[in-house]
């Protein structure tokens, strides 16, 4: 073995950056050599003196002061982000078990708007009134589905990227809550004549079901399988693209 340097002794002190053989070699050398023990003791003494220094502690008002300075910045940030009413509704609808209720509301609202607008529009232009009602209902549905897809995207991203059991547990719950709402949105899209969206949502259903039923401690294989599936089907890209399309405001009439 090469002569043991002070650098080796520093790494030995932290038990870091050395393999097991090197650690064992240094331990044996320390047992055998007084001079090496003295050098090591000197390093340990220096580091112990650093430990003896009091840790810097914030004063009592630190948290209050921190929050006072932080809060306006967060609010500005929130305003800049300008969350849509759909996002606010989604936040209100959390925890995820209420997502189903959201979907049901969206469906009822879309049907309701169509019905109301159809009944109360100017009688002399029934075609225009009906078209306006359909457009309003479609916009409501689009906003809800876009939000649903954002949540789905998050679930897919977490499932394919995260190894944290805790996050995966929450993710499983979220996926389970999205299955029913996904079914309702697919139904609503089909009723509204948007077969493309309905087909796409139906395509998502088995993926959500499979994520909702993943074992509590997933092994590497299912996670890798999901990554492979996402890559081969471009599903994540399709989710984002559909989400972006639904988010796009309808062209203004001039």
């Amino acid at each position: 073995m090469n002569p043991i340097s002070d650098e080796d002794l520093v790494l030995y002190h932290y038990r870091d950056g050395l393999d097991a053989a090197a650690l064992a070699g240094i331990a044996a050398a320390l047992d055998a050599s007084d001079a090496l023990r003295t050098r090591y003791a000197s390093i340990e003494q220096t580091l112990a003196r650093v430990d003896a220094l009091p840790a810097p502690e914030p004063d009592r008002d630190f948290n209050a002061r921190l929050w006072r300075r932080l809060e306006p910045r967060l609010q500005t940030r929130a305003v800049l982000q300008r969350p849509s009413w759909a996002e606010r509704l989604q936040a209100w609808l959390s925890p995820p078990r209420l997502a189903f209720a959201g979907a049901a509301c969206a469906l009822a609202l879309a049907v309701g708007i169509g019905f109301y607008a159809g009944r109360h529009s100017a009688p002399e232009t029934p075609t225009v009134a009906s078209a306006q009602a359909d457009a309003a209902a479609a916009r409501v549905l689009d906003a809800y589905v876009a939000e649903h897809l954002r949540a789905t995207e998050g679930v897919l991203m977490t499932a394919s990227n995260s190894d944290s059991t805790t996050l995966l547990d929450s993710n499983r719950e979220l996926a389970a809550s999205l299955v029913e709402s996904n079914r309702l949105y697919a139904l609503a899209a089909a009723r509204a004549g948007n077969t493309q969206l309905a087909d796409f949502l139906r395509q998502l259903e088995p993926v959500l079901i499979s994520l909702a039923n993943q074992p509590a401690s997933p092994s590497i294989e299912p996670a890798q399988g999901l990554r492979d599936y996402l890559r081969s089907t471009d599903l994540l890209f399709q989710v984002r693209a559909t989400e972006a399309r639904l988010d796009k405001p309808a062209p203004r009439k001039t």
């Binding site: 002070d6 650098e7 520093v10 790494l11 932290y14 870091d16 950056g17 000197s42 390093i43 003494q45 220096t46 580091l47 003196r49 650093v50 003896a52 220094l53 009091p54 840790a55 810097p56 502690e57 914030p58 630190f62 948290n63 002061r65 921190l66 929050w67 300075r69 932080l70 809060e71 910045r73 967060l74 940030r77 929130a78 969350p83 996002e87 989604q90 936040a91 959390s94 998050g154 991203m157 977490t158 990227n161 995260s162 190894d163 944290s164 805790t166 996050l167 995966l168 547990d169 929450s170």
Partner: protein
């Protein structure tokens, strides 16, 4: 596990825009972040700015937190970069204090000081000199040392946080320890 689970829920709620949940995370982690930032910057006011910046950056990127590491690890990494950023802003990075022979003399005599109240005063002097020595280190040396010694991070983690190779991280820690030893053992090790 329950704690981690609870924290994941707070993080999820904060990510959805719940300010109260974010405040909860701030309260839970601010003291630890302050300690690491104060050790890196060597300045409480700078540390406070760094903590504020760290939380603001964390809030902006909360949705990107993927749970691969613990939330506190993720937050600490942001705080370390915020502390380095604050130092850079104030042109303190890589700045060294002027050589001070007087300080070295006080230190040398302190190591042979008598016990009792005088010894306590000497201990305080040693503490001050360690702090002086820490301030003389480059920002990278001090940060690598603080992360390894006080935060218990591995060299691999330090390399990731500071975007350095493992070899460069080790060298930064070695230089930091050498400088400390140079101050505490003036005859033994060259700083």
């Amino acid at each position: 596990m329950r704690m981690a689970n609870d924290e994941a829920r707070w993080v999820a709620r904060a990510g959805a825009g719940d300010a109260a949940a974010f405040r909860h995370l701030v309260d839970a982690h601010s003291a630890a972040l302050f300690r690491v930032c104060a050790r890196i910057t060597g300045d409480k006011a700078l540390a406070e700015d760094a903590v504020q910046e760290a939380f603001f950056n964390a809030y902006r990127h909360l949705r990107e937190f993927d749970g691969r590491s613990a939330f506190s690890t993720w937050l600490h990494r942001i705080a370390v970069n915020a502390a380095l950023g604050e130092m850079r802003k104030r042109n303190r990075i890589e700045a060294a204090l002027p050589e001070d022979d007087e300080a070295a003399d006080v230190l040398a005599s302190s190591l042979e000081g008598p016990p009792g109240p005088e010894r306590q005063a000497v201990s305080a002097a040693v503490g001050r000199d360690i702090e002086t020595q820490l301030k003389r280190m480059s920002a990278i040396e001090r940060t690598a040392f603080v992360l390894r010694h006080h935060e218990g991070q591995s060299i691999e983690e330090i390399s990731e946080t500071l975007s350095l190779s493992e070899s460069a991280s080790k060298q930064a820690i070695f230089r930091a320890v050498r400088k400390l030893r140079g101050a505490l053992e003036p005859d033994g090790v060259e700083a």
